[in-house]
Symmetry: C2
């Protein structure tokens, strides 16, 4: 698998609440190898930094490269990130506040490190790798355990005054709707994320609606323990309940896109994330149709709404793009 | 009132569905005089252009100036506007599509004309005239008969790919909520505009809830014929129904602001429009409190949420700022 090379490389890191994924890229953004570690955020900031450094070195080793061949590391981290200060300002699922990720990781690795919000990094990766005609304004929407977004405006990543722009998952779509992890009611994330989909399925199964999902459960598991792939399996077996719930999530996503198109006027809208990767065939047509139905006349004229093909690699790719940009910059 | 001057002036025009307001400004943006005409859009595009031209000349005459002293005219027009082409792409309440407003008005007046969306113009005016420390990212929100917005991002007016960005009034906040003029259900505009407030008041009065608003009605009028000032009068007389309905509109506005802060990360949020101008004292504290309650942690940190003091003059001021900017080029 590994392809020995004398070239310098860039490593892109996707730092999540549960796992760390590192990818070794050529300067032309060809992915050579990846490495994965669990985050173990409960062990605290210092430990996570050490694990990220280890994951970066492991990835280089997998690619038969010495750590010295790594020119720079880019990291997409969850939460509000200040790239200039190199700090994760606020990341609830890591329990970090003003964490000096860049500085501490540079101490460990001895090479330049650049950080960005994870969804911003994904959007950057999609823009650089998947968009032939580079759109000036791009909106990235990522449907996974939660929902996040990223904005490229006037050709550049845009994160606003407090580095929180693109937090589309906490746009309220249904005042008084289902409770969100953030404490509010009716957020987009509480209506269309994987968490929301499985919660709704579990609720309705408990009320007696039939679903094949119960056949997939192994000793002690409940419906909320299942994965996006199980939804696809259920849909392919004609499961009506899964169909209804996934359709509803797709409709909410379409309405969210209409809102965002009205507000931001993007040229291209790209969807990604684990839920969309697993259910692209089932969700995309409903999403696009609903978005066009709800958007203001003209707002989506000639606007592409597409699914990213980067899948799991969006985060590491975007982080590598970030590092490459910053090195050049 | 008029102050004779040898100076060149700029005229800013606020072109609305029902009235045309023109203001004569010094190059330092001091307002010298205004003039008003009804739009009479049913007479068609050519007629409206002629009326705008007449209103501009009337305003100059009111200020004891000759038309030759007007260096340029700026216009804020409703709907989607392409400033580069000089066209109103789509304006439902004027029934215009691809209307060459700039070119036709230049024919009438023989001086440079610049056009922009009305809420974009208002936002530009607020940014230029009311903001001492020019924020890089500003969001303008205008609550009137309808609801519109404008964005200044990275220091410049931002209107997106199809010139429709800032259409915040049609952000769905309550899926399945009250019907909006655009045909969708639960738009911000259907929940917090003057139209929405009076519709809700009329509905609840009809259901038997008591309100002093009925005392304000003159021969044949219904509650929906009343004006924003009547709401203020009712509130000052302790009218409980008006209080509840206005409070609800303020809460929806706060939720909308939280959504927009999460999505856009503005540095300053300015509110204006007829409803807010009339009810600032009653609405602002509820709006701000709700916004801070709903926004993501950090998104509104150090972000100002303020009411514009420009009132009715926001549109003409912004249009004059536009013309001045464009002249300077």
């Amino acid at each position: 698998m590994a392809e020995p090379t004398k070239q310098d490389v860039i490593v892109g890191v996707d730092l999540g609440g549960t796992k760390i994924l590192a990818g070794v890229f050529t300067p032309q953004l060809r992915l050579l190898q990846t490495s994965k570690l669990s985050t173990k955020s409960v062990r605290g900031f210092e430990s996570v930094v050490e694990r990220v450094a280890r994951c970066v070195r492991d990835a280089a080793d997998e690619a038969d490269l010495s750590p010295k061949q790594i020119k720079a590391v880019g990291i997409g981290a969850p939460g509000a990130v200040d790239p200039a200060k190199g700090e994760v300002i606020f990341a609830p699922n890591l329990q970090w506040k003003n964490a000096p990720l860049q500085k501490e990781l540079e101490k460990h690795l001895g090479i330049p490190v650049f950080i960005e919000n994870d969804c911003n990094a994904c959007t950057l990766g999609v823009h650089e790798v998947e968009m032939k005609a580079k759109p000036r304004n791009l909106l990235g929407i990522f449907l996974g355990t939660g929902i996040g977004g990223g904005l490229i405006l006037d050709g550049r990543l845009f994160s606003g005054f407090n580095h929180t722009a693109g937090e589309i998952g906490h746009m309220v779509l249904e005042v008084g709707g289902p409770k969100c992890g953030c404490g509010n009611l009716g957020c987009f994330e509480a209506l269309a994320s994987r968490t929301a989909i499985f919660r709704e399925l579990a609720r309705r199964a408990k009320e007696g609606e039939k679903t094949v999902l119960t056949d997939f459960l192994q000793g002690g598991e409940t419906i909320t323990d299942l994965k996006s792939g199980d939804l696809r399996k259920a849909l392919r077996r004609g499961d009506k309940l899964t169909e209804k719930v996934v359709e509803s999530a797709a409709e909410y996503t379409g309405i969210a896109i209409a809102n965002l198109a009205n507000i931001l006027g993007p040229e291209v809208i790209v969807l990604g994330g684990g839920v969309l990767d697993a259910l692209e065939d089932e969700m995309m047509s409903i999403i696009v149709e609903t978005a066009r139905d709800y958007a203001m006349p003209g707002a989506l004229k000639d606007v592409e709404i597409v699914a990213s093909k980067l899948g799991d690699e969006a985060g590491i790719t975007g982080a590598a793009v970030l590092a490459r940009q910053q090195l050049k910059g």
